[in-house]
């Protein structure tokens, strides 16, 4: 081990560079948000945060996030299960399509929904007859949020299930267990932490999505404005205290998510170590 034991000025130079870089690029913006939010005192902050539209925007954000987490959890589990436990033709294509959404610019993600459900689309008259409005309405926001977080959960589960192999499930199946019993008793304990971790990542991204949602939202205050969109509105209206106050809610969520991430990662690693 001795040759990796360092030593010398290089170590400290690199550490100082790292701290400086992350402080300037990551920490400073964070501190700036909080300090601007509280600049006009805690009173002004509370007024901004408890503003009717802020709360409505927060509720819509939570709603879209819950939808995204729910849909992507179901997708994540079933996709991970069928991609890791079975061999079939087209497996590679399937996994490519699942990963595709994150490589697409959020604006383009918004665009494809506009093309699918917008006025010029063939689907529009049908949906209109049924009284369903998708774009510039809540369903569009939910869809866009699902899209941009699409592979977040399956991507966490697949490596864990690949590493675990199929022996245990085969053994359980030979003993006559059904699909759900096998999943609950055999597979689930392995992926528990990875699943939670995926949910945390999915939540983080879903809450913060801006571009795709921006395309699909009608920007109606209190109706189709999510928290990030509402922040944009406030900022462009030069209500900086309001914008930063609303931002501070999301900052708080981000910090919670980072802490959760560290905890879950540690638990997941511990689990792996025990297995070894």
């Amino acid at each position: 081990m001795e040759i990796r034991k360092n030593n010398g000025p290089l170590k400290w130079i690199l550490i100082v560079i790292s701290f400086l870089f992350l402080t300037i690029f990551l920490l400073l913006p964070l501190i700036y948000i909080l300090s601007t939010a509280f600049r006009q005192g805690i009173g002004a902050y509370l007024v901004s945060v408890s503003d009717e539209y802020t709360i409505k925007a927060a509720i819509l954000t939570i709603k879209a996030t819950l939808w995204a987490v729910a849909v992507n959890t179901i997708l994540g589990i079933s996709a991970a299960w069928c991609l890791t436990k079975f061999a079939f033709r087209g497996k590679k294509i399937l996994s490519t399509f699942i990963d595709l959404p994150v490589t697409v610019s959020p604006i383009i993600a918004g665009l494809i929904y506009v093309l699918t459900f917008g006025r010029q689309s063939d689907l529009y008259p049908i949906l209109d007859d049924m009284g369903i409005q998708i774009i510039f309405a809540v369903p569009g926001i939910v869809l866009a949020t699902i899209f941009v977080t699409f592979p977040f959960i399956s991507r966490e589960l697949i490596p864990v299930l690949t590493a675990q192999g199929t022996d245990e499930e085969e053994a359980a199946a030979l003993m006559g267990a059904g699909t759900f019993t096998i999943f609950r008793k055999v597979t689930f304990p392995h992926i528990k932490w990875a699943l939670l971790y995926g949910i945390v990542l999915c939540t983080a991204r879903a809450m913060g999505e801006f571009g795709a949602v921006s395309v699909l939202s009608g920007h109606l205050r209190g109706k189709t404005n999510t928290l990030p969109l509402y922040i944009e509105l406030l900022y462009q209206g030069y209500d900086f205290t309001g914008a930063f106050a609303a931002s501070s809610i999301l900052v708080l969520m981000a910090i919670i998510i980072l802490i959760l991430r560290l905890v879950l990662e540690k638990k997941g690693k511990k689990e792996l170590d025990i297995k070894k």
Binding site: F25, L26, F88, V104, L115, I182, Y235, A254, L258, I259
Partner: protein, 276 residues
């Protein structure tokens, strides 16, 4: 390819995956393809070769490239520091690297903008001391993109660096190599594929980035107008064919970048795993 498995649940998991994938990803993507096929080639060419659009691509690609280069260098240093050194605050450093994933892009965007205007904390210092403007310039865009791209390189290099067999370094050392030679000849080739992979992911993500950039960019045509913003502008004017044309070129660029990376990675994997 097809192999009968005794594990049950293929039908349900495959069915669910395909259903969700179709609704959220495939059908909208198809509508993009259908819509794109309806575009007349001359109109398409005219749209994407307009000077303003070309300049948009140029701004997006050049700033994304510079930001990703900065992130490649800093990501390498950060990964090195986190893997090889012990120092107080290491866990903290490791934890906040993920901040750009957790913090909504719009929040990061307004914070970075507000901070770097000529009146902001940082912007004032730079403007007064060097006469450099940050917000509303390409420099500002680059800074926002650096923020977004930090985790990509670190998180792809870190695990590879952790896995390098210490015996390889000891072998180089026993053969008389100093630290510099050892890094250049033994460690760097090991992490290079991961470095390239992290760089490409960050690059692709940055080209399509909207939320964090739109505030700091200032959106002056020919100067700081990014390609995703152009799509957004066309959408707001309900000019869907122009928006689709610009988006198609962006998708093509992303596809090319990611394909080059995939080819590179597979040729490296071939060499290392000996399947050629």
């Amino acid at each position: 390819m097809k192999r009968k498995s005794i594990i049950p649940g293929f039908g349900i998991s495959f069915g669910l995956t395909i259903t969700i994938l179709s609704l959220v990803v495939l059908i909208p993507l198809c509508s993009l393809v259908v819509y794109a096929a309806k575009l007349s080639p001359s109109e398409f060419l005219y749209t994407v070769t307009r000077p303003r659009v070309l300049s948009g691509y140029y701004v997006s690609i050049s700033t994304a490239f510079v930001a990703s280069i900065v992130n490649a260098v800093m990501g390498l240093i950060l990964a090195w520091v986190l893997v090889r050194y012990e120092f107080p605050g290491k866990r903290f450093l490791d934890g906040i690297i993920e901040l750009p994933f957790a913090l909504p892009t719009a929040v990061a965007g307004i914070s970075l903008t507000h901070m770097t205007t000529t009146n902001g904390w940082i912007g004032k210092i730079f403007y007064d001391a060097f006469g450099i403007r940050i917000a509303y310039t390409r420099l500002g865009i680059t800074i926002a993109l650096i923020f977004i791209g930090i985790p990509f390189v670190v998180r792809s290099v870190q695990p590879v660096l952790e896995k390098i067999d210490i015996q390889c370094e000891e072998a180089a050392f026993m053969l008389g190599a100093d630290r510099k030679t050892c890094f250049r000849k033994v460690i760097f080739p090991e992490i290079l594929p991961a470095l390239i992979s992290g760089f490409t992911l960050a690059f692709a993500r940055c080209i399509g980035e909207y939320g964090s950039v739109v505030f700091i960019a200032g959106n002056t045509p020919y100067e700081t107008e990014i390609a995703p913003l152009l799509i957004m502008a066309q959408l707001q004017e309900f000019d869907y064919s122009a928006a689709t044309s610009i988006a198609l070129v962006m998708l093509l660029i992303a596809f090319v970048i990611l394909s080059i990376n995939a080819l590179l990675q597979s040729s490296v994997a071939k060499r290392v795993n000996g399947k050629s």
